[in-house]
Subunit: 209 residues, 2 copies
DNA sequence: GTCTATACTTGGATAGAC
DNA sequence: GTCTATCCAAGTATAGAC
C-alpha cells in the first residue's frame, strides 16, 4: 500500500517534472564525483542550469536531493537487474544470476554512500526505508522466478515458493552486508563482494542439487 | 643554476622538516581524493595531526601546499621512472621505455590537476615552472642514455646526442599533451594515452631503423 | 612551533520581489 | 517558477598568546 503510493509519487515526479529530473541527474553526477559532503548546491545548480535557490522549489534541502538520487539509482538498478535476469533462458540460471548479480552490482552503486559519520547517522533511517521498499519488490520478483521454475519442473521445494524466495534473498543480502561490514559500512573501497558471490554460488549448487 | 638552488631547498625541506613532509603526505592524499577545490585545510590538518592554523607556519597558503605536493609527486615520478628505465639491459629498450612510460604514467599523476577553471588559470605559471624544471632533468637523462647507446654502437646519429635527445623528448611530450588537450586539458578522464604511446613507438622503430 | 581568537569569504537555507 | 537579498554556519587566512 505504502509501496503503491510511493511508486505513484515517483512516477508522477519523473513524468511531470523534467526540471526535477534534471536536478536529480546533476545531483547524481556530483554525489558520485565528490560524495555528499563535498558536493555544494552551487555544483548541482550549475550542472542543472538553475540558481541554487531554485533547488529549494523542488526539494526540501540538500539531504532531500540526496535521498531522491539514491532512490532513483536504486530503482534503475533493480529495473535493469530484472531485465538482465530475464534475458537468461534457463530458470536456474535466472535465479543464480539475480541473486549473485545484485551483490556484484551493489559495489557500483555504493559510491553514493560516501558519507561522513555525521550524515550517515542522520540518513540511516532513510536508507532503511529505501531498503525495505526495494526488498519487497525483489522478493516478489524472485518468487515469480521460483514459481515459474516449479511449474516447468526445473526444480521443486518442500515449502511455498514465496518462503524459499525470502530465504534465498536474505541469504544473498546477508552475504552482501557481511562483505560491506567487514570493510566498514558505507565506506566504498575494499568490500569483498567476489567472496560473497562465491559463497552464494556454492550454496545455490546445494539448493538446486 | 636555478635548478641546483631549487633541488637543495627541496632536499633540506624534506630532511629537516618531518612535519612539513607529513603535511605533504596528507595534502597529497586529500588532493587525490577530493581535488584542490574540495579539499579543506581541516581535511589536511586532521590527517597530518595538526591544527589547520599550524599549516600556515610551513606554507604560505592552500595553493602553496598544492604546489609543493605537485612538485614532490613529480620528483618521485621522475626518480622512479629513471630507476625502472635502467632496469632494462638493452639501451634501445631503455630509450623506448623511458619515452613511452612517461606518457603512460602521466595519466596516474594527473588526478592532482583536477582544478576548477579559476584555480587552473592562477596555478598555470607554477605548472609551467615545474614543467621546465623537470624537462631539463629528463632531457639530461635521455642524453646520457643516447650517449651510452652510441658508445656501445647500439645506434648512431648524424647529430649530437643532446640534440637528438631533445627532439625525441619534445616528440614524446607533444604526443602526451595532444592526448591531454583533446580530452580537455587538466581534466582527467578520457585522454588517449595509449594512442599517443602507439604513435611514439612507431616513430622509434623508424629512428632505430 | 602550536594553538586560540578573530576577520573575511563561501556554502546551506529562507524570505520575498518579479 | 526563478531569481536577488540575506541569515547563519563552515572554510580560508591572519594576529597574537603561550
Amino acid at each position: 500500500m505504502f509501496r503503491v503510493t510511493f511508486a505513484l509519487k515517483q512516477r508522477r515526479a519523473m513524468k511531470e517534472n523534467p526540471k526535477r529530473e534534471e536536478i536529480l541527474r546533476a545531483g547524481s553526477e556530483c554525489f558520485a564525483r565528490f560524495g555528499f559532503d563535498k558536493t555544494t548546491l552551487d555544483d548541482i545548480g550549475q550542472l542543472a542550469g538553475l540558481n541554487k535557490a531554485s533547488l529549494y522549489y523542488y526539494f526540501k534541502n540538500k539531504e532531500d536531493i540526496f535521498i531522491a538520487v539514491v532512490l532513483a539509482e536504486t530503482q534503475a538498478f533493480i529495473s535493469d537487474l530484472k531485465t538482465k535476469t530475464l534475458a537468461f533462458s534457463d530458470v536456474r540460471k535466472q535465479v543464480r544470476f539475480f541473486l549473485t548479480e545484485r551483490i556484484r552490482r551493489y559495489g557500483e552503486v555504493i559510491h553514493l554512500t560516501k558519507l561522513s559519520v555525521d550524515h550517515r547517522q542522520k540518513l540511516e533511517p532513510m536508507f532503511d526505508q529505501v531498503y525495505e521498499e526495494t526488498k519487497i519488490k525483489e522478493v516478489a520478483f524472485l518468487t515469480e522466478l521460483l514459481k515459474k521454475g516449479v511449474a516447468e519442473n526445473a526444480f521443486s521445494f518442500p515449502e511455498p515458493s514465496a518462503s524459499v524466495a525470502e530465504s534465498l534473498f536474505y541469504l544473498s543480502d546477508a552475504l552482501k552486508n557481511e562483505a560491506l561490514r567487514s570493510a566498514g559500512r558505507f565506506i566504498s573501497g575494499e568490500a569483498d563482494f567476489p567472496g560473497a558471490i562465491e559463497k552464494l554460488e556454492r550454496l545455490l549448487r546445494l539448493v538446486f542439487r
